[in-house]
């Protein structure tokens, strides 16, 4: 049943993505209500998948790579739903759908080809749960920051080219995108900091590699933020850095 929830959720995000591409090609933003409705529907099925997997393992459902990708996708969607409108970026959801679709498709293939099944029962450690949940929520925020970066680069190119195309009318102003990128970076670092601090209170202290990797991601983003605050990176540099940093964060996941 959990696989079915994941497949339905992935199909919903795929539908949202296709709909958005059709709207954008037509030079329209598409219906914000429909985009949000699809994101909520996808989130519900994602949550059902994670709930079933959580019950199966008796802990936070991030016991393998496939589950971790679904959890990050869930974080991306929930942060978009919570903050997208506040940042005046309803289109952020549209741009995040391909990422969510890609992550969940990989998870489906992985789980259908080899599902490791339930993990042996463990005594629940709330600090471990907090560490895992906050860290992956931070990845969601970093992911959205990278997506805002992509949107910035597209809009910057549209304006610089002197021949604004259809996307020009649909994409948000570049200042909103720059602001959103910064805020999402700050939110991500804040969440990751909580996750790392929580690791120090865990019953079983995490492996050195695990802590090193989490610390490396934190350092990369903190450095990026610091450089921006001190040296005032241009929005283009911030966008590229944000995208590269998220790529690095994803790579670190494979090391865990």
């Amino acid at each position: 049943m959990d696989d079915l929830y994941l497949i339905i959720s992935t199909l919903i995000f795929f539908a949202g993505f296709v709909l958005a591409v059709v709207s954008l090609r037509g030079g329209r933003q598409g219906s914000a209500r429909l985009n949000i409705g699809l994101a909520i529907a996808g989130l519900i099925f994602q949550s059902l998948f994670l709930k079933e997997r959580g019950e199966m393992h008796g802990r936070c459902p991030i016991t393998n790579g496939a589950e971790v990708l679904v959890f990050i996708s869930w974080s991306v969607v929930i942060i978009y739903l919570a903050l997208g409108r506040a940042f005046r970026l309803s289109l952020l959801g549209v741009f995040s759908m391909p990422l969510v679709f890609m992550f969940q498709s990989i998870s489906i293939v992985a789980l259908l080809s080899h599902d490791p099944g339930p993990r042996p029962p463990v005594t629940l450690d709330p600090w471990l749960e907090l560490h895992a949940a906050m860290s992956l929520l931070a990845y969601g925020a970093f992911g959205l920051s990278g997506i805002a970066g992509v949107m910035y680069l597209v809009q910057d190119r549209q304006i610089k080219s002197h021949e604004p195309g259809r996307l020009f009318y649909s994409l948000p102003p570049i200042r909103y995108l720059t602001d959103a990128m910064m805020r999402l970076l700050v939110i991500g670092i804040f969440l990751l900091s909580i996750g790392i601090v929580a690791a120090f209170f865990m019953k079983n202290f995490p492996e050195a590699l695990h802590l090193t990797v989490s610390g490396a991601v934190w350092v990369v983003y903190a450095f990026l933020l610091l450089i921006h605050l001190v040296k005032h990176l241009t929005p283009k540099q911030l966008s590229l850095s944000s995208m590269v940093a998220f790529g690095f964060a994803l790579l670190t996941l494979s090391a865990l």
């Binding site: 037509g26 304006i159 610089k160 002197h162 021949e163 604004p164 102003p173 200042r175 929005p235 540099q237």
Partner: protein
């Protein structure tokens, strides 16, 4: 009972005629009363804007009503029958005309929204004056629905249609809302003034004007509620403004890449939008290569405006299809037969929708 429309617009009459036919806003209620006193005019709405003067009405004999209205206009305004050709539309044709006007398809600037508000105001005035009843209420109510539908489901409003609006649209895609945006004008020409006014109307503030002749700078600064600075000093303000409009008569570049690059450090990541409307150009082309700096010259803005006009023109048929589809589904309500029991109390029901609900004065 049928509906009709009589009028002139920017396509059928020059401004010299339209200005003579224009109804003063304060006199419309009394005109409406007189028009309704004419033979065979049961209901009336006067729509008088700078681009059109139209009278919509309902009558048992629209032909006679239209003739009476022409007579009325000739007697009350300084026009003769020979110099003005009114268009006369009846029944479905009149309704379709209003729907296209409300959708911005009959406007000088295709798809503009101002006309929608003007129709609402004209209808509200007629309604308050007791000059509307079921036919006009249904007709105008339907025109508002269609106007909204056309604008929300087509791209008739998309794209800029003038150099000024292209500059404003670009500025909004860079800064979002222009509230609080700071503007500097280098060279106090007419185009600078128009562009600055467009930006100001969208919320831009703190306008700085610099010109070789300081008197002229002060004059324009006063008009725009801004501040005049000496021409030698404009460079020191470059890091404090968001938008620069340059239109000097200089034969060489006034704003150089080096100067703009120097100002970037102090801008703390704030974008800079440069609008060069001078010929020869005032701003070095290479400025556009700088990160976070956007430069548009007069040709590029004109091209965007022309593309916008062409884009809107391509939408006309799409809009007409939307209108036809809407009417296929719902029909023109004002042309529907009204049950006889309602006819006697036509005037008593002014201010109600087809469902009997009061019409909001919006």
């Amino acid at each position: 009972m049928s509906i009709f429309c009589l009028g002139v617009n920017h396509k059928t009459a020059p401004v010299e005629i339209r200005e003579r036919l224009a109804f003063a806003e304060s006199s419309i209620p009394s005109h409406l009363e007189e028009i309704r006193g004419l033979v065979e005019v049961n209901e009336a709405v006067v729509l008088s804007t700078c681009n059109r003067v139209e009278i919509y009405g309902a009558s048992e004999e629209p032909g006679k009503a239209l003739e009476g209205l022409v007579e009325y206009l000739v007697n009350h305004f300084e026009v003769t029958r020979g110099e003005v050709e009114f268009y006369r539309k009846e029944a479905e044709e009149a309704a379709h005309h209003l729907f296209e006007v409300a959708s911005g398809l009959d406007s000088m600037v295709l798809g503009e929204t101002e006309i929608f508000g003007q129709i609402k105001k004209a209808y509200a005035t007629a309604q308050t004056s007791g000059a509307t009843s079921r036919r006009m209420n249904k007709l105008f109510q339907q025109s508002f629905s269609i106007g909204k539908l056309v604008r929300s489901s087509t791209r008739i409003q998309q794209g800029s249609t003038s150099v000024g609006s292209a500059a404003v649209d670009l500025a909004e895609k860079i800064f979002g809302k222009l509230d609080g945006c700071r503007v500097m004008i280098i060279g106090a020409g007419e185009m600078s003034r128009i562009t600055a006014q467009s930006l100001r109307s969208r919320g831009a503030s703190s306008i700085i004007v610099s010109n070789r002749s300081f008197d002229k700078a002060e004059e324009l600064a006063e008009e725009l509620d801004g501040k005049a600075v000496r021409f030698d000093d404009w460079g020191s303000y470059l890091d404090q403004v968001d938008i620069v409009i340059s239109s000097t008569g200089a034969p060489h570049a006034v704003v150089k890449k080096e100067a703009v690059a120097r100002s970037l450090d102090d801008r703390r990541g704030h974008p800079l939008f440069l609008i060069d409307i001078a010929v020869p150009r005032d701003i070095e082309d290479e400025v556009n290569e700088l990160d976070n700096v956007y430069l548009y010259n007069i040709d590029q803005l004109t091209r965007i405006a022309n593309d916008g006009v062409a884009r809107r023109e391509r939408q006309i048929e799409v809009c007409r299809t939307v209108i036809h589809r809407f009417l296929d589904e719902k029909g023109i309500e004002a042309l529907a037969e009204i049950p006889s029991r309602h006819r006697s109390d036509d005037n008593a029901t002014a201010g109600e929708t087809s469902s009997g609900e009061p019409i909001p004065n919006s």
